[in-house]
Amino acid sequence: MSLTNTKMMSSEEIYRIGIDVGGTNTDAALLDSKLHTIHTVKVHTTRDVNEGIVESIRRLIEESGVNPAQVRYAMLGTTHCTNAIVERKHLGKVGLIRIGAPATTSVPPLADWDETLKAAVGQHAYIVHGGYEYDGRTIVALNEAEIIGCLEVMKGEVSAVAICGVFSPVNTSQEKRIEELAKQVLGEDMPITLSHEIGSIGLLERENAALLNGALLNVIAGVVKGFEEALHGFGIDAGVYICQNDGTLMRSEYALRYPILTIACGPTNSIRGAAHLSGLNNALVVDIGGTTTDIGVLSQGFPRQSSAAVEIGGVRTNFRMPDILSIGIGGGTIVRVDAAEDRVTVGPDSVGYELLKRGRIFGGDTLTATDVAVKLGRYTWEGAKTEELDEAICQRADAIMTQDIEDAIDRMKTSAEPVDVILVGGGSILVRDKLEGVAQIVRPAHYDAANAIGAALGEVSGETERIYSLDEMTYDQAMEDAKRNAIEQAVLAGAVRETVQIVLSEDIPIAYLPGNALLVKVKAAGRL
């Protein structure tokens, strides 16, 4: 961890803080206005997550000596929301209006949810008349009396309302009308999630996402409040931003409405941080922690998204998550020797955070991947007890780990061409300097805080997803329209218009529709 001499810096300098709360560690980084890393710290994630956040800010400010008044931006990436869903804790009750009848009745809302999650999120789910066709035509008009009836029943029973209509990503009017009705019946303050704002085509997945979003509003409110209070406590008056799973940021006001977008931002932050630290835009990012190695793909500066349906706490959603391959190799991974069969095996279990107690070089009784790396001279640890370790066994364990990592890298490549690999995470010391199929290995400075640095970077994005008919317009016109939309969304999210760029653009022809229907997804991102 580095400490630059802050006295050299102008008192006009503006700083930003990035914090990434993971399952084991809370990392924090301080960056200057040129996005140079000034200082990083790592603390254990506490049971009350906010304590770890407060501690990381305290150390960051104290150790760097930066004037808190000069910190203008504060970014937080956190696993709060994921944990809440997985543990079914602190979730709010949500009332759902699906705009679908007479269609959609063969699969009611929450059909694929398990009972514990259903109980936690609530039982108020109604299908009302309405919905659109794929081309935006109305299937049937809303019946407002019917909707008001459903909303009346929710009074006092729900803390949020989710609204999800058939083909609402194509035509948003009915969802917006029901939002107005819900405010009339349940009060202006009732939080409302409109599905078209958070999900894409695929009714059940988008409905699930809208429900989970509503259930997480209390959780994110606690996160934002805790973070803001912590900052104020240190005299920091900063714009507060929360990390999304696509590698961009949202303003805290926006996060308060769309907490579901924070799910799984951790791996994304590592990839973005690695891109920034290495200066590369296209590479594989290999993040080696204490228990696992996570491999992601950096494509045009952003993580490649997974195309598979993503389950969160057992519920199928259609979020785009980073495409991550995890294998069971980390700094604490246990190495076993079967003398009788002359066999060495590696992992997949790990000593985790007990590495400093149980690892052989620290005087413990368990041979770990870190012991192997230090014995083979890849890393120097003062006072390490390496004499008693068997070099031949370490060589064999190293060969296995190298092979596993090489295989995993190969799986994530997009072609046979050698790729650049950026190594980050505390466990990256395990890896040798040459790997099969890899053009160059980059080990950037601050590699063990890439996630927090990724959180701090600060680009905000907007995206659009629509079906176009290529009988009515050219391919270029369709793409142009989608791009214009995405850019507007990015500006709405807080990006400076001049800095907004298209970061992702894909089109998928849709089978069995006339007029050469094309599903277009575009994402734009820009600086704060």
Binding site: T105, V107, E133, T414, A511
Partner: protein, 370 residues
């Protein structure tokens, strides 16, 4: 092959069939997810659905295939209504003046495999363990009933609003044209009954025990994973399949033509197959696999891509760069290998130059495995 026959569809069986149907969907046919949820919902409400084998049918029994026609993307968004799934049956009963004895899937591959379950449960009539493709194909006339000259009419369709359509088409090709046009007006996805058949016609023309086949594929893929066996090897061993290729997707090109997704994917061999290159051509379904310009498997034989780790099927839409796959092939039903069968669904119909050669022969020429 075992002698097991499915006699009842419970929640577990639905889970298995959904996976097996995706394998038999040969990369297309739509995601069985919605059909699965519809079937599970119906079974929770009405209890397990009885399954009958073709040989159990009376010769004069009325059997009606029920399916969804249109874009799977639309069906995943505009999920069918309950009424929409029984309406075409009611219309056909009214037209023919008699009751339906059993409902069958028109195709066992992909999303349509489980679509008839909800109507069977609602109406309390059994589901037939047979279909008319033994896989998935994109067009209405691509059924064994068409090959055998069975009348596709009357044809009935329904949307979610309550609209119903009764049609008489001179053959399956005309049915395809007219039904496709009506589907668009109905919003891109509709329910349809065509080829109402007798028990005798089922015995002569349908492909028997394909729900059982889908069930067994799904069961093997699930169970061998739990038992830490290689699911793909287990499946090929049980089901007379062939491993065509192990490799990694290195190039995928898709384009849209006439409402269909067409394209090709290139795979490079991995592990012991390093240095080999396979090309896979698709039009919604995988239709032709080649290596060095020579065929490995040709439509109507079945070609599926399975994820090397999980054994789970990969669709033409979800196939992406870097996917590690095993391509597997299965012989199609012999009916597809007749001159009329090949004229209807052979490589030339889909615009490929490759001649049709049965997969058994191609594999034997290669001195192949399995």
């Amino acid at each position: 092959m075992t002698n097991f026959k499915l006699t009842e569809l419970n929640e577990q069986a639905v889970q298995y069939i959904a996976v097996g149907a995706a394998v038999l969907g040969t990369g297309g046919g739509g995601d069985p997810h919605i059909g699965k949820l519809m079937a599970l919902q119906a079974i929770r409400k009405y209890g397990p659905v009885r399954v009958v084998s073709p040989e159990e049918l009376e010769d004069d029994a009325l059997v009606v295939p029920l399916s969804m026609i249109g874009a799977p993307t639309v069906m995943n968004e505009k999920i069918p209504s309950v009424e929409q799934m029984t309406k075409p049956l009611e219309l056909i009963e009214k037209e023919l003046g008699r009751k339906v004895s059993a409902i069958m899937p028109i195709e066992v591959g992909g999303g349509n495999s489980l679509v008839p379950v909800i109507a069977a449960a609602e109406r309390g009539i059994p589901l037939l363990d047979a279909d008319a493709m033994g896989r998935a194909f994109p067009e209405s006339q691509m059924v064994t009933f068409y090959l055998d000259g069975i009348d596709c009419s009357p044809i009935t369709m329904a949307d979610e609003r309550g609209n119903g359509v009764l049609m008489h088409a001179i053959d399956g090709v005309w049915e395809e044209r007219m039904a496709r046009a009506i589907t668009i007006q109905m919003g891109g996805s509709a329910s349809i009954c065509d080829y109402p058949v007798t028990g005798a016609q089922v015995k002569a023309s349908a492909i028997p025990h394909t729900l059982t086949l889908a069930y067994e594929i799904g069961k093997i893929l699930y169970e061998s994973k739990d038992q830490k066996q290689n699911p793909i090897e287990e499946m090929l061993k049980h089901l007379n399949g062939y491993a065509l290729f192990h490799g990694k997707a290195v190039d995928i090109r898709r384009r849209t033509e006439g409402g269909f997704t067409r394209g090709e994917a290139v795979f490079e061999g991995t592990d012991e197959q390093k240095g080999r290159t396979m090309r896979l051509f698709f039009q919604n379904e995988f239709l032709l696999a080649t290596e060095d310009g020579e065929s490995l498997a040709v439509t109507p034989d079945l070609i599926s891509l399975l994820d090397q780790d999980t054994g789970m099927p990969i669709t033409t839409e979800n196939l992406k760069y870097g996917a590690r796959v095993t391509a597997v092939g299965f012989p199609c039903d012999p009916k597809w290998r007749t001159p009329k069968g090949l004229e209807t669904v052979g490589p030339q119909y889909f615009g490929y130059d490759a001649p049709y050669v049965p997969i058994e022969q191609l594999t034997a020429e290669k001195g192949g495995a399995q």
